[in-house]
């Protein structure tokens, strides 16, 4: 289907993150943790043991002072549609127990926690490190379980979890629309927690196929790029940066290769 | 694993994969059934075999 010819039932939810606006403040990370009942430990300094569905990375241009430059890059799940956009994202195709799924209806890669038995093959498959394993039992300090969100189940030890674009919000929005006799939901009705929280309005979320949605235009911005496009994972998270070195940092280039971070069409 | 589990789809990958699987399982199952059955029969009828192999 060509983009622009918009079939209302097929959506491809995606995100455009403006790195020029992102301040690296971390509000998105915390909003995500609160929304998705993400557990916490006394020590969370080992980032490879810490569960952060959305992690803000710090990039630098590698130059010495004072030519140094840094940029923050929030990394949610990329919700890859995979080679040829068939939904064979790196993780979905490898899960032996069908515990992670690519929805052709929404383009969201979901994780079925009660199905996952913790083989971690999907984590090995994901080049973005968006998948997190529950190494510990989720335990809340006495009383703190009161702030848990009833729309999201708490994951048990030994399973993998990841960002699902706050899918529960999609379901709630759909239910609301249904009770109001609508079949479609509005753009603003379904927004993930990180998008809602971002104090810099750096994150935009919507249906990448819907010309009425803001992301539709933004992804065609000349500043747009995606992470590791060369792997053909086809991420649905786009980044915008006016700095060339940042756009270059999105992918690996071999020496003397013509770097393609100039304006492009998608 | 079985056609009644919901992730089952009737497509080529399932035919090939599960075809191979059930084929192998059947051979193993039937082979063992044969061995046990024959041995039980031999035991009851008192026809004991001898190892020629060793």
């Amino acid at each position: 289907m060509k983009e622009g010819q918009h079939d209302q039932h097929i959506k491809k939810y995606g995100m455009v993150i403006d790195l020029d606006k992102c301040t690296g403040c971390g509000a998105c990370m915390v909003a995500c943790m609160q929304e998705n009942n993400i557990p916490f430990q006394k020590d969370e300094t080992d980032k490879m043991l810490s569960i952060t569905w959305l992690r803000v990375f710090k990039l630098d241009n590698g130059k010495p002072y004072p030519d140094t430059d840094i940029c923050y890059l929030p990394r949610p799940c990329m919700h890859c549609s995979g080679i040829g956009e068939h939904g064979h994202s790196p993780c979905v195709s490898v899960c032996p127990a069908t515990a992670t799924d690519y929805s052709m209806e929404t383009g969201i890669v979901s994780q079925i926690y009660t199905r996952c038995f913790g083989c971690r093959y999907c984590m090995a498959a994901c080049p973005y490190h968006v998948r997190h394993f529950n190494w510990w039992d989720p335990v809340w300090p006495s009383g703190m379980e009161r702030s848990l969100n009833p729309n999201v189940s708490v994951r048990m030890r030994g399973v993998v979890e990841k960002c699902n674009f706050c899918f529960q919000r999609y379901q709630i929005a759909k239910e609301k629309a249904f009770t109001e006799g609508r079949t479609e939901i509005e753009e603003h009705e379904y927004q993930p927690a990180c998008v809602e929280a971002c104090p810099a309005n750096a994150i935009t979320f919507g249906d990448l196929l819907n010309p009425k949605h803001k992301v539709y235009k933004l992804k065609q911005d000349p500043r747009a790029f995606r992470l590791l496009e060369k792997l053909h994972t086809n991420p649905k998270v786009y980044y915008l940066s006016s700095r060339e070195w940042v756009r270059e940092a999105g992918d690996n280039y071999i020496e003397n290769e013509k770097v393609d971070v100039e304006p492009k069409k998608h | 694993m079985f056609p009644f589990s919901f992730e089952w789809t009737w497509d080529m990958s399932h035919y090939v994969f599960h075809g191979g699987l059930w084929y192998a399982l059947s051979i193993i199952g039937l082979g063992m059934t044969y061995c046990i059955g024959k041995s039980a029969y031999d035991t009851i009828t008192g026809k004991g075999g001898h190892h020629e192999d060793h």
């Binding site: 301040t23 609160q34 929304e35 803000v56 630098d60 810099a200 | -």
Partner: protein
């Protein structure tokens, strides 16, 4: 024998078949799959009716409107309130994780009385009645001895009804020692007073400004009202230019249009240099200078004589062409604003730097006009009758404050908390017998923690109103826990830096979870316990009644909408309240303004603590949105978001340029000892190309010792342990932006 074996065999086969065909194995398998998914210790959040309640976040002075999502009586999420004009739906990281501060086990559950040694953590729960009588009898006893001035109070803010109630209580009780936590607001207020004669706070019309020249202000790191600044910055990314002057690659420096690396502490020189170019090239607003300013000639002479780009370049390490370029761009812009106050704005700063920067705003005439710097009146909605003081109170109020604020030495400020521990440790004119602490955690958030602790050790009776077992509460004798911000009413005045007055109302979104009491109510009740001379000034039944009466007709609007913008407000363009009625480049409010240019914007090098030979490096503390530095600590979620370039296990990482580190023989991640004249800390080294050679940057907001491990106890080092204070000669405020230091392998 044969028969029995056959029997055995058929029995075995039959049993196997029977068991397989029976529901037993299938049931067990099913049970296992269910059991593995619902472990009894995995919480299942109960569902219920969803409601949304609006209120205002008071965790910092940013004044964001928030919407709390509730499921029955449980608050489950905080989001920004879409229609609130300050934050327009955004939240900061602290605000977003606020529910952890509501439900955390580190809260104080009930009034507590110390039973063990101070700081030991042994407490006895007491009733509110007992607690109030403890405090009132102690205060009565001090008052009866004729020394009411020997009681001091520290409040997190001077704005708002609760702070004003405490202040009022102190007044009728008879103590002038009401202190507030310092910030750049104090310097801005002093500067506005000196140059514009204004008694108000500074507001910035950022939404209409098109060129921002920031002298180290952490625009996206917590300066001003954080979320409002984020939004302003996002706008500037498409329209507007922001130039960040910074001695290291701060987040703000990295994200703005341009970063000018500067020798630390020479920002005033750069401002003067820019001024030089603007004046020399006749780029200034002649109308403003002619009609609305005073003392320009004297200022001009100083600027032209001493601050040529070449000379500034020598001091600040910036190429003269860059200075010229910035000066021209600044002057050529329609609505340029120059701002200052380093980082988050926790340290008030050097008043002459503020004056030098603000002089730039005057040169372009962008004061009290669109896209410029405005002056806002303060607290004008609180109009309580003047309290009647008895004789004891009057005598007490006539005593000089311990911190010296308002005295002839420090006439431009109302509070000098930074001087308080120093004076006590030096032996002040009179001892402090009791201290009340509200919305403040001085034992953590004040520089030179050791000195603060020593001073507090000298105070025999400390009462904390904290909701949390923070460092100060832990070291108190009595804790009268306040409701948390989501459980209480409170008026929220105009956030820092906003250009128009807005009043918001924080409302309880959940019932008090613990046996706590609103500090406003505690003060009113306390006053009532203490006899007519004091209770007379507190005619309200309770705090809510007081607030309702104070807000008067605005109550209904505030209750419904949470916020109320004073839409009639407009700044008086180019109108000033100085003796001359004009903007004064040379402040006539300063006696002998010419003497050492004390009343004129100028630059002088900061005398940092420490000997250069012994301490070859300069250490600066640096803040981040990810680490709370105010009276509440960072939440567990925030600590999760803290970078591994800041904290690894329990070690803080100090940021250092690889070249400097290599000169010191330090490698990446290595343990080292950071020593300053104030203290010593065990740290680890992180190579960071964004740090100026010869400098170290230490993250603030870590190393708590109160709270609990989830709130970062023992995680890193509190930067205040290794930084001291430097008094501004004119205001007495702390202007220490750094300290001399050395870093050695350990």
């Amino acid at each position: 024998m044969k028969l029995s074996r056959r029997c055995f065999l058929s029995f075995g086969i039959g049993a196997a078949a029977g068991i397989t065909l029976s529901p037993l194995p299938w049931k067990l398998t099913d049970d296992i799959s269910i059991w593995t998914q619902m472990w009894p210790w995995t919480p299942v959040p109960p569902d219920g009716a969803y409601t949304y309640e609006n209120t205002v976040c008071t965790l910092c002075p940013g004044g964001c409107g928030i919407t709390v999502r509730k499921v029955d009586e449980r608050a489950v999420q905080i989001a920004g309130m879409e229609e609130h004009p300050v934050n327009k739906g955004g939240t900061c990281i602290l605000g977003n994780s606020g529910l952890q501060l509501l439900y955390g086990p580190f809260r104080v559950e009930a009034p507590m009385k110390r039973t063990g040694e101070r700081g030991e953590g042994r407490w006895k729960r007491i009733s509110w009645k007992e607690a109030l009588s403890e405090v009132s009898s102690k205060l009565n006893q001090i008052r009866a001895s004729g020394n009411p001035h020997q009681v001091a109070a520290v409040s997190g803010s001077k704005e708002g009804t609760v702070a004003r109630l405490i202040n009022r209580f102190m007044t009728v009780y008879g103590s002038p020692n009401f202190m507030t936590e310092p910030s750049i607001q104090d310097s801005y207020e002093a500067m506005l007073y000196l140059m514009q004669g204004a008694t108000g706070s500074a507001g910035f019309d950022f939404e209409n400004a098109d060129y921002i020249l920031s002298f180290g202000s952490g625009i996206i790191e917590g300066w001003g009202a954080p979320v409002r600044m984020f939004l302003a910055n996002s706008n500037w990314r498409t329209k507007g230019t922001v130039v960040q002057v910074d001695s290291r690659l701060s987040n703000t420096a990295a994200k703005m249009d341009r970063w000018i690396s500067i020798e630390p502490g020479t920002e005033a020189a750069l401002a003067m240099g820019i001024s030089h170019v603007i004046i020399k090239e006749n780029l200034y607003n002649k109308g403003f200078i002619k009609e609305a300013s005073e003392g320009f000639d004297q200022y001009k002479k100083l600027v032209l004589d001493a601050y040529s780009p070449a000379r500034v370049s020598d001091v600040a390490g910036i190429d003269p062409s860059v200075i010229e370029e910035v000066a021209r761009a600044f002057a050529a812009s329609k609505h340029p604003i120059a701002i200052c106050g380093r980082g988050k704005g926790d340290v008030p700063g050097n008043i002459h730097e503020f004056m030098a920067v603000h002089a730039l705003n005057a040169l372009v005439g962008n004061i009290n006009s669109k896209g410029g710097v405005w002056t806002l009146p303060k607290n004008e909605y609180i109009r309580w009758p003047h309290p009647i003081m008895d004789k004891v109170a009057s005598l007490g109020m006539q005593q000089e404050r311990v911190d010296g604020a308002g005295s002839k030495d420090y006439p431009y400020v109302q509070s000098l908390l930074n001087r308080f521990p120093k004076k006590i440790n030096e032996g002040s004119a009179y001892p402090i017998e009791a201290l009340l602490v509200y919305n403040s955690n001085p034992l953590y958030s004040m520089p030179d923690t050791k000195a603060v602790q020593a001073a507090f050790d000298k105070i025999p009776f400390i009462v904390s109103f904290s909701s949390y077992m923070d460092e100060t509460a832990k070291n108190a004798d009595l804790i009268l826990p306040n409701h948390t911000y989501l459980e209480r009413y409170e008026d929220v005045p105009t956030p820092n830096g906003l250009q128009y007055p807005i009043l918001s109302l924080a409302k309880p979104v959940v019932k008090p979870q613990l046996n706590t009491m609103h500090t406003g109510d505690v003060i009113i009740k306390l006053a009532k316990c203490m006899g007519n001379s004091i209770s007379g000034a507190f005619g309200w039944k309770d705090y809510k009644g007081c607030l309702k009466q104070t807000l008067g007709s605005r109550w209904n609007q505030l209750y419904k909408k949470v916020y109320d913008v004073d839409s009639g407000f407009a700044p008086n363009k180019w109108v000033f309240e100085t003796p001359s009625g004009k903007f004064e480049f040379v402040s006539s409010l300063v006696k002998n303004a010419d003497e050492n240019n004390i009343g004129i914007p100028h630059y002088y090098p900061t005398a940092l603590e420490g000997d250069e030979k012994k301490y070859p490096l300069i250490m600066v503390p640096y803040g981040s949105m990810k680490r709370a530095t105010g009276y509440v600590g960072s939440t567990p979620f925030m600590l999760k978001a803290v970078s591994d370039e800041t904290l690894v296990k329990n070690d803080v990482l100090v940021q250092i340029n690889p070249k400097t580190a290599q000169n010191l023989g330090l490698s990446q991640g290595e343990s080292a000892t950071l020593t300053t004249p104030v203290g010593e800390a065990q740290v680890k080294v992180n190579f960071n190309e964004g740090i100026r050679p010869g400098m170290i940057a230490t993250p603030t907001g870590l190393g708590h010792t109160g709270y609990d491990e989830y709130m970062g106890n023992g995680k890193g080092v509190n930067a205040n342990q290794v930084i001291g204070t430097v008094e501004d000669p004119l205001t007495g405020l702390n202007m220490a932006w750094g300290i001399r230091a050395k870093l050695t392998r350990s």
